[in-house]
């Protein structure tokens, strides 16, 4: 288990090999082998580490690889401390679960990509796998990091990879725009995150998660006042909203769909976007000490869930629907953490990773089959063309809609139940969201797989009219109509479908006779050491346990309700998009205003564009003018003044100073002009003067003596 640091390093090596050699020298098969091989090793190692963790007594294993920042004295609240950071990795239940998810799903998506990206050139192919491996490196670093700064390395690194992968087709303006947007919005979140890190060090004198947790556990819960822990948590949550696409920083995620679909599946559904949730769970002890921030988290999560789901109702781009769905599901997770159900949040994180990755890969398969068509209005009836994709996607859809016994049901229900216990208003939001989720997902299924085929016609051996601008990365040349994807793509789909079915079984709640194994497994990660029995978290957990006991009946009732809501959504979608499509048109016409509002995503992008972006840009331009006119103007003005004064002094110089000088010269020349008459050139006259001198001196001698 001491080799857990190898888990991130392996994909890193893969990235380095592909980056330094692959782009120039490797064939597609070689770069794919390097990438998948390194990921496979990492996944194997993850499983090995996880098994070891299960088998060991201790639930926490630390590995310090090296000193990163050696100790430097710095004052903290408690006096002078030492700012020191190690390259330290930690395997505990939470990170154990995460490395399984990341390396497992990562491996599947690598395999999927070998086929999906086949249309790229050799160099582009290697580049893609280099980025993808690099992403896994950073993501695993993020997950395994034992202190905030190592986590931040991963945090920023995945942002970089996200930037690179969204902008993978950099020749497309929209793609590079989207990449930039993602990075910048994330940076805004990082602003909060780093401030949180600073405040944590200032308060606790360390950045190690467990030491921070221990320090926080010793402090009182800030129920009444907005104290320092609340501030820390608020800062951290700002970071989380950026990374996990919550209000107000969610706008980058839908745009991120410009990237290749496997990227969307891996980064923007399964792993990276959940980093925010993971981070909040990591700092669970801190958050439990800041109930006010918890409320904020829950409210933001709930509202985001609802809002994103409502936008998802009207979108027609298949990947955008899934993107808003992701935002919505992430909202769910934050809702869970916000109400203190960290385990439920983490559980949903895991199940969501499975079914959302599945859905994305499925949509990728569809897009692939449709020759890069993403608009669902041009699909339909694909069920017959691609049965494997259809079946697996259906599994995913049922899972996300919360139909038992699929994975989504257990995790989502856990969240709903915990929310219900905590706050009824938020619960109503969540239930509404659940209904909408079922509706838009089945709308997606209906528009894609049911009904008649509405796409472009195709002929054998001939091209077609759609998607020409992407034909350079379409490996098939001429398009022969929708078709099932190759095994390299359907294989991962099936594997993920299995995951989406069974992943929930680790968390069957007590009300259904299960042990909620995952919650107990994860518990050590959310609390400080069990020795501190007086810790408030333990108490809270105990209370929760009690509540569990007393409300089995209520829980069952809530479950039934949520299933009903989900079925209602499904039924509505079935009615509107399969049985009576014209009704959908009518509804759209009736609520045209609302429809436009949703279609345009509440105009949030436009709002940001006109305020933040334009404000910054015009500020920049204004300051530039200021720089040129005022600051530089002052300098040039000084220069001009100097010149002017030098001109004045030049005049003074010429007429007064020079005048005086010339006067001396003039008088000298004038007087010499007259005096030079004495200079006769006659030697005897000079001798006469000498004689005169002698005469005078002798006379003086005579007179004075």
């Amino acid at each position: 288990m001491d080799v857990i640091w190898l888990i991130p390093i392996l994909p890193g090596i893969g990235a380095a090999v592909n980056g330094l050699l692959g782009i120039r020298f490797f064939s597609k098969a070689q770069s794919a082998a390097v990438a998948c091989g390194s990921m496979g090793l990492a996944a194997a190692l993850s499983i090995y580490a996880f098994v070891q963790l299960l088998g060991s007594e201790s639930r926490v294993h630390d590995v310090v690889v090296a000193t990163w920042i050696p100790a430097i004295a710095l004052e903290t609240v408690d006096g002078i401390g030492a700012f020191a950071v190690d390259w330290a990795f930690r395997l505990d239940p939470l990170s154990g679960m995460m490395i399984l998810v990341v390396s497992g799903i990562g491996l599947l998506i690598h395999i999927y990509s070998t086929s999906y990206m086949h249309g790229e050139s050799d160099a582009g192919y290697a580049r893609f796998f280099c980025y993808l491996n690099l992403f896994c490196f950073f993501m695993l670093t993020l997950v395994l990091g034992a202190n905030l700064l190592v986590m931040f390395v991963g945090w920023e690194g995945v942002g970089l990879c996200s930037y690179l992968l969204i902008g993978f087709w950099y020749q497309k303006q929209s793609a590079s725009d989207a990449g930039k947007k993602a990075f910048l919005v994330n940076r805004i979140g990082d602003w909060g995150f780093v401030l949180g890190i600073f405040l944590i060090f200032f308060t606790f004198g360390t950045l190690d998660f467990r030491e921070v947790a221990a320090g926080a556990a010793a402090m009182p819960i800030e129920t009444a006042e907005f104290g320092v822990i609340s501030l820390i948590c608020l800062f951290l949550f700002v970071g989380a909203t950026g990374k996990s696409a919550q209000i107000p920083l969610y706008v980058w995620l839908p745009d991120a769909m410009e990237g290749p679909t496997p990227v969307s599946a891996l980064i923007h559904a399964a792993t990276m976007v959940t980093a925010g949730v993971y981070m909040v769970c990591r700092n669970a002890v801190l958050f439990t000490h800041a109930p006010m921030v918890m409320t904020i988290v829950a409210v933001i999560g709930g509202v985001t869930a609802l809002m994103a789901a409502s936008i998802g109702l009207t979108q027609t781009d298949i990947k955008r629907v899934l993107a808003y769905s992701t935002v919505s599901q992430l909202g769910y997770m934050f809702l869970a953490t916000g109400v203190g159900a960290f385990a439920a949040g983490a559980f949903h994180l895991m199940t969501h990773a499975f079914f959302k990755a599945l859905l994305f890969l499925g949509s990728g398969s569809v897009i692939h089959a449709m020759n890069d068509e993403q608009d669902m209005r041009h699909m339909g009836g694909l069920k017959t063309f691609m049965p494997v994709t259809f079946v697996t996607m259906l599994v995913g859809t049922l899972a996300i809609a919360g139909i038992p016994p699929l994975a989504g049901f257990f995790s989502k229900d856990e969240i709903l139940f915990q929310t219900f216990l905590h706050n009824r208003v938020l619960w109503i939001l969540a239930v509404a969201t659940a209904g909408m989720t079922a509706f838009y997902m089945f709308r997606l299924m209906a528009m894609t797989f049911y009904g008649e085929y509405r796409g472009p016609a195709w002929e054998h051996g001939e091209g077609h009219d759609a998607g020409e601008d992407h034909s350079d990365h379409d490996g098939h040349g001429a398009w022969h109509g929708p078709h099932e994807s190759p095994t390299a793509m359907t294989g991962p789909l099936m594997a993920l479908a299995v995951g989406a079915i069974v992943a929930g079984f680790v968390g069957i709640p007590a009300a259904l006779g299960g042990g909620n194994a995952i919650e107990h497994f994860l518990e050590p990660s959310f609390t400080v050491e069990a020795t501190e029995e007086a810790g408030p978290v333990a108490e809270a957990a105990g209370e929760a346990e009690e509540v569990h006991e007393v409300s089995h009946a209520a829980e069952l009732g809530l479950m039934a309700l949520s299933i009903l809501v989900a079925l209602g959504g499904i039924a509505l979608a079935h009615r509107l998009y399969i049985r009576r499509p014209e009704l959908a048109e009518a509804w759209r016409a009736r609520w045209a205003g609302a429809h436009r509002l949703l279609l345009n995503k509440y105009y949030v992008d436009e709002l940001y564009q006109s305020t933040v972006v334009r404000g910054t840009m015009s500020g920049g331009r204004g300051l530039w003018r200021f720089d040129g006119r005022v600051v530089d103007g002052a300098v040039n003005g000084t220069g001009w003044l100097t010149l002017a004064s030098s001109w004045c002094s030049q005049l003074f110089d010429r007429y007064v100073v020079d005048g005086a000088v010339n006067l001396v010269g003039w008088s000298a020349s004038e007087s010499s002009f007259s005096l030079r008459r004495i200079q006769t050139g006659l030697i005897q006259n000079y001798a006469l003067v000498m004689l005169l001198g002698v005469f005078v001196f002798v006379s003086i001698y005579l007179l004075v003596r």
Partner: protein, 522 residues
Amino acid sequence: MSNVADFPLLSLILFTPLAGAVLLLFVNRQSEDAIRWIANVVAGIGFLVSLPLWFWFEPQGAQWQFVERLEWIPSIGAEYSLGVDGFSALLVLLTTMMGSIAILSSWTAITERVKEYYIFLLVLQTGMIGAFVSLDFLLFFLFWEVMLVPMYFLIGIWGSDRRLYSAIKFFLYTLVGSVVMLLGILAIYFEHHAMTGIYSFDVTRFHELTLPVGLQWWVFLAFFLGFAVKVPMFPFHTWLPDAHTDAPTAGSVILAAVLLKMGTYGFIRFSLPILPEATIEFVPMVIWLSIIGVIYGALVALAQRDWKRLVAYSSVSHMAMVMLGMFSLNPVGIMGSIVQQINHGISTGALFLIVGIVYERRHTREISEYGGLSKIMPVYAVVFLIMTMSSIGLPTLNGFIGEILILQGVFVVNKMWAAVAASGIVLGAAYMLWLYQRTMFGNVDNPKNESLPDLNIRELATFVPLIVLAVWIGLYPSPFLRRLDSSVMHVVSRVNAAYAPLNADGGADASAPVDGSLAGGQ
């Protein structure tokens, strides 16, 4: 080591470039390739002889190492005294390295007056090294002024467009600053004589002096003007974009990588330890100017259409960050400040090289002239990407270490300062990424760009050491930080009483908690 101590290593490092310049004087100006070879070899040797500063320097040893002392002008007590601590040793290494890179980078870029060009570069090199290794204030001032002249000619002769305007602006700005600084030096000199009866310019003596506060105040202002112009800090920065834009590539690289460090070096070596009380008084002013500089530089960079000018403004922003860390007056902040100086030298130097490469091929710096270069010059794009990331402080690269230390250092002093300054990193990412997008991404719209050659071996060779360093500092900065320990602690112990008795119980002088609830474990 004992025999090493007697070896005049610093003089050797100092005069190697000058010797090369003298050697070049005797080379026929027509044989340009020979001149280039000689200059490159001399610069390479200059770097090699400076390497012992890394290997022989003892992080735990005396504060001043490799000290040399000779009489210079005994009548006024000026000495030829050289010596380095960790800080200046790193800067000397940076100088010799960037110097050789700059010289290597101008192989094909300079075709006129080749001989003079390399002579000026080498003389400049000696001037810069001299300023970093001088322990005598007058000697420092001498080298400080020596640097000015070659730079003036480099900009004025081999520059572009408005080179004369820029060169004169650069010269006047710095000259005004340094004249005022000289007054400050003399004030200390005479005050030192009045207090001790010894005429001396010895910096180490000055470091132990406690000047009257009133005098400190004025001298600080004088030094501030001299150094702030060089840094450059916010209201004194306007020479920088012009000078950078119009300088030849190597000139920009040297300017960004080393010359700007003169200002910050001056602050850490002179202002802070000699004038501690005044420094503390001026902290808010300097900090706010720095914060303005961070955001202002970034915003103005965002509006630029000229590639090189954009990088120049980013320089303003980064150097303001350096000042910010320095005036937090605690070990982490100052350490970060120093590391960030080195980082800035690496990443901004590289960015100027990057601009220079396309400028040499296309002779334009307009960003709109470019686009889609990723496709045509993939290696170039990768190098640019790495340096962009280094510049915006991506973890695992060097910029991050500097920024995180600086901001952490400032944060413990004042949270508001850190919060405002940290927003600079958002803007920093904005202008760099936008630049990257506009130049590297998209389609190749401009037909002139279609056949640009990618980096050749020589050009790649100028980047490799920078990339290696960027990754090294990012992943394992300990060797650098350990070397800086003693210099940082020396400075801090002068300006911040809280850190003076570090070996004693640290809790004695803890700052007061922000509010009652923060008093952790109690």
